[in-house]
Symmetry: C2
């Protein structure tokens, strides 16, 4: 019995498994295993439509069990690959045992991940936009921001943060997200009686001089015109460099700019999956696996790679772009070549040029380049819908999406905030110099432990008729603050502000309460700190 | 300016606000405020359909902003009511400030909550079924269980837990949930190659001798017959009394029975909202607010209560049942009576008998009692769909649901597992005597602190040719265990089993790592414990 293991639940992995099923349907001595994180594959081109709810939340994804019939699907994360011993080890399920699985052929296609390393605050405060959970989270945050803005009538600073929506990255993904988000927010904001449409800012941040660099200049310019007309603010030549819970920090041509916002999406940058990092196979400069034209990883007869994590050479020498149309063709080729290897026949080389590119600009508008011809406006949008509908896997889903699109012509967009997610634990937070962590007199809702940076503790004192800030202490790494209000259920007795950019561990009240009450030594340790400070704060 | 505050986002609260809008549309001196937890109202009768995905996830709820046009909606939790000073205080949003709001008239309609107090393990391990998040969570758990069962081929005990689904409560809600769940699981299980349909158990637990006690005996018997025929196991005369992460403990006629399961739903018991508990208004024995026929809370001219949290007398003296048809009529009456009070006109009394009752039994089957006539089978199901469709708020939603139902006739059910929810924090867990917390040799994934009960720590030793369990220690409240594997990244070096029913605080690895690395004193305190035990465990 031969085992073919496919890693990855994106187009590359799933279509490879599907092509293998078809190609090897007569071989009873071969089993195909697919490992992936979710039990569905995301149809990326339509992911942005989840924001406005134009199509049903689950219609943008396809359950793997319906696409694959012979493959054994394992919804489990792969933790490591051992090329030497031809095994992979897989994360535990309900029972904490690791599973080790042997393979004869390995197909590596886990794709890329959003990589915020080196960008302070982004892992904590920026949303990626890659999978269904990201899209739903963004949607919920946008609705939450509108709900809060409608209530917080007398806090102009908070309203500005709530009503500004920032998307970083002007490639296809960033443009589609900003277009959908802008349409959605401006449309539904009318239902909020205390939100003035003029207060809403939707910003697209892009490092280059024009958006959609993958397309011809005139299509990029067209897209910019349409987005601007619909109210999107373009910040070209700016790069997202840091984020806090209240703002995005951008590096621009004239130094850095802070945009107040509570909703920040970053569609860049992507790095190959961490699983690839740990492999000692040959890679390109940007960390992708180097494969030859047959999709074999250099130096290994039974290891194949494809999709966004691989650098696949095309006939003219340049690497294949990371698009679905290339991934699905690579998937077919890898199946053909594995079948050929099993049958000891010669292998084929990858040869596909790409048919074109399309990007949606929201409401009945798009740009497209098909067989070299540029199309923009309504016709491009119509093509976009038609082509992607046809590309969706499964008839059931196509019918559902077509129906939703039809209903969307005369029904209003969805406005339900899905709040899921259980009790939150400790998280990291990032603060920029000058930013207030909390104010004297506020309710205590979390405890902070400073990991990097410095903070000042001040209290407002009346001096004659004036109110002045009195500096009580300066805090550095390793010190905690905010514990007093929680231990004593009292309002904050001082204001804490960031001096040098800080990373803190922030523990919510519920979590702190549970731990302080039960973990030996924890409460005592915080109480010591409080006692030491009590003198200071009198 | 007069302020009318409505508390509650269910049928009672939302329809009251709507009726007030209409009734007081000419009075510019009145403002209506509604406070609720979510920005939508759930259409309860169809909530069970979320499990199988027959209708779109968000189509079972209606956004409040579309139902209410003059009311100012605050999606905020009410924390307390001060009847004396005519104010309510509202939870903080992004800024940790409490808000205090004055009212002239107060309408209390927060409904009931699922109340697991006094039932060990239920708060942690049983799922309620009241709102959209509950329905989605159940759906995800069911799909997760199927995915895991498909992979865990060689662990019969775990498979039994994964493939058993238990619903407690044989009222309308429990019956609708078990019917949908059974249909869904049995239908989609065919797609899992390593699941034998015979392994699936769907159990309905009910304390009385027949289900649907609200209906005539013959309809209850019909429902039982249909459910049994479709594979639901009925455990009548059993009561859910405790739960662990691996089982439901039932008290039956012949003592207690343990049903292994990872999916336990409890649709009982419901108690009035905690907000009601804290009020010193007059209440009935079961904790509901006592109101007179005009829906006024006894002794207060400007405080009104309705819906499931209130005990509303009917003309014949018995209290109103907690159903939507009564809540919406009470909502209309409360609006009329508030308008009458403002205009100094006489009040009306509640007078409504109820039109009937209906319960869906899943796939094209239902039971109904309409104007005293009993109907069952396809006709009842057809009536169920028609009547509830007509009762849904908003034309848009009706069209969407009707379309989904039509597509569902020939498309396959949805199978996407939505995993949302961020990083989890510390949680409570419950263990029953004899249950294993973890086994020697497993990976360390959490640390435990014993809050109540006792555990034994044992290690397997070879004695000659036999393997025997050697008792290393007995643990009691306040002691922690499982820290060693995490501090040293080693497999569990002993097995821990429950002796007396235990409640533990269970801290996941990620959370423990974050805290141990950064909270002063925490790591040291755990290391001391480890050092003390090191001798024991050599």
């Amino acid at each position: 019995m031969k085992t073919i293991v496919v890693i990855g639940g994106g187009f590359a992995g799933v279509y490879a498994a599907r092509a293998l099923e078809r190609k090897l349907r007569r071989r009873k001595d071969v089993e195909i295993l697919l490992f992936c994180r979710e039990n569905y594959t995301v149809f990326q081109p339509m992911l942005a439509e989840v924001i406005s709810g134009t199509i049903g939340i689950t219609d943008v994804v396809s359950p793997l069990r319906r696409m694959l019939h012979r493959t054994h699907v394992h919804v489990r994360e792969v933790e490591s690959i051992d090329i030497e011993n031809k095994t992979i080890s897989v994360a535990a399920g309900f029972r904490p045992h690791a599973h080790v699985i042997h393979y004869d052929h390995l197909v590596i296609a886990p794709g890329t991940v959003t990589d915020f390393r080196g960008l302070p605050g982004l892992p904590e405060h920026a949303l990626p936009f890659k999978n269904l959970a990201d899209a739903l989270e963004l949607r919920s945050r946008v609705i939450r921001a509108l709900e809060e803005a409608d209530v917080e009538g007398d806090d102009p600073e908070l309203r500005r943060q709530l009503l500004t929506f920032v998307v970083a990255g002007g490639g296809f993904s960033g443009v589609e997200v900003v277009a959908e988000l802008n349409d959605f927010v401006r449309h539904v904001a009318k239902l909020y009686r205390r939100i003035d449409p003029k207060e809403i800012r939707v910003v697209l941040v892009h490092a280059q001089e024009r958006i959609l660099p993958e397309m011809k200049a005139k299509l990029g310019a067209f897209a910019q015109r349409i987005l601007r007309k619909r109210g999107v603010e373009l910040m070209l030549g700016y790069r997202l460099q840091a984020a806090t819970g209240e703002s995005a920090v951008l590096a621009g041509p004239d130094g850095s700019v802070t945009v107040p916002t509570k909703t920040l999406v970053s569609t860049i940058p992507a790095s190959p999956h961490p699983l690839i990092d740990s492999l000692t196979l040959s890679k390109t400069k940007n960390g992708r696996l180097a494969v030859d034209g047959t999709l074999r990883v250099s130096g290994h007869d039974n290891v194949w790679a494809l999709g966004d994590c691989a650098s696949v050479p095309t006939k003219d020498g340049s690497p294949c772009p990371p698009t679905a149309q290339h991934a699905t063709r690579q998937a077919q080729l890898v199946a053909d070549n594995i079948a050929a290897t099993l049958a000891e026949r010669p292998l084929r080389e990858f040869d596909f040029k790409g048919l074109g590119k399309m990007g949606s600009l929201g409401r009945r508008n798009a740009v497209a380049e098909i067989f070299g011809i540029s199309i923009s406006g309504f016709l491009a949008w119509f093509l976009w819908r038609t082509i992607y509908l046809a590309k969706m896997p499964g008839w059931g889903r196509r019918i559902k999406v077509a129906t939703s699109w039809t209903l969307d012509l005369f029904l209003e967009p969805e406005l339900v905030e899905l709040r899921l997610g259980g009790a939150g634990g400790a998280i990291h937070e990032h603060f920029e110099p000058g930013q207030t962590v909390f104010n004297e007199g506020e309710l205590g809702d979390r405890v902070y432990i400073l990991l990097a940076g410095r903070a000042e503790v001040v209290r407002r004192r009346s001096e004659g008729t004036d109110l002045v800030d009195q500096l009580l202490a300066t805090l550095g790494p390793g010190e905690c603050f905010g514990e007093m209000a929680l231990l004593e259920s009292a309002p904050r007795n001082a204001t804490v502000r960031c001096l040098d950019a800080m990373t803190v561990l922030s523990i919510p009240k519920r979590e702190f309460g549970l731990l302080a009450a039960n973990v030996p030594g924890l409460r005592a340790s915080f109480e010591q700190v409080t006692a030491r400070r009590a003198g200071l704060l009198q």
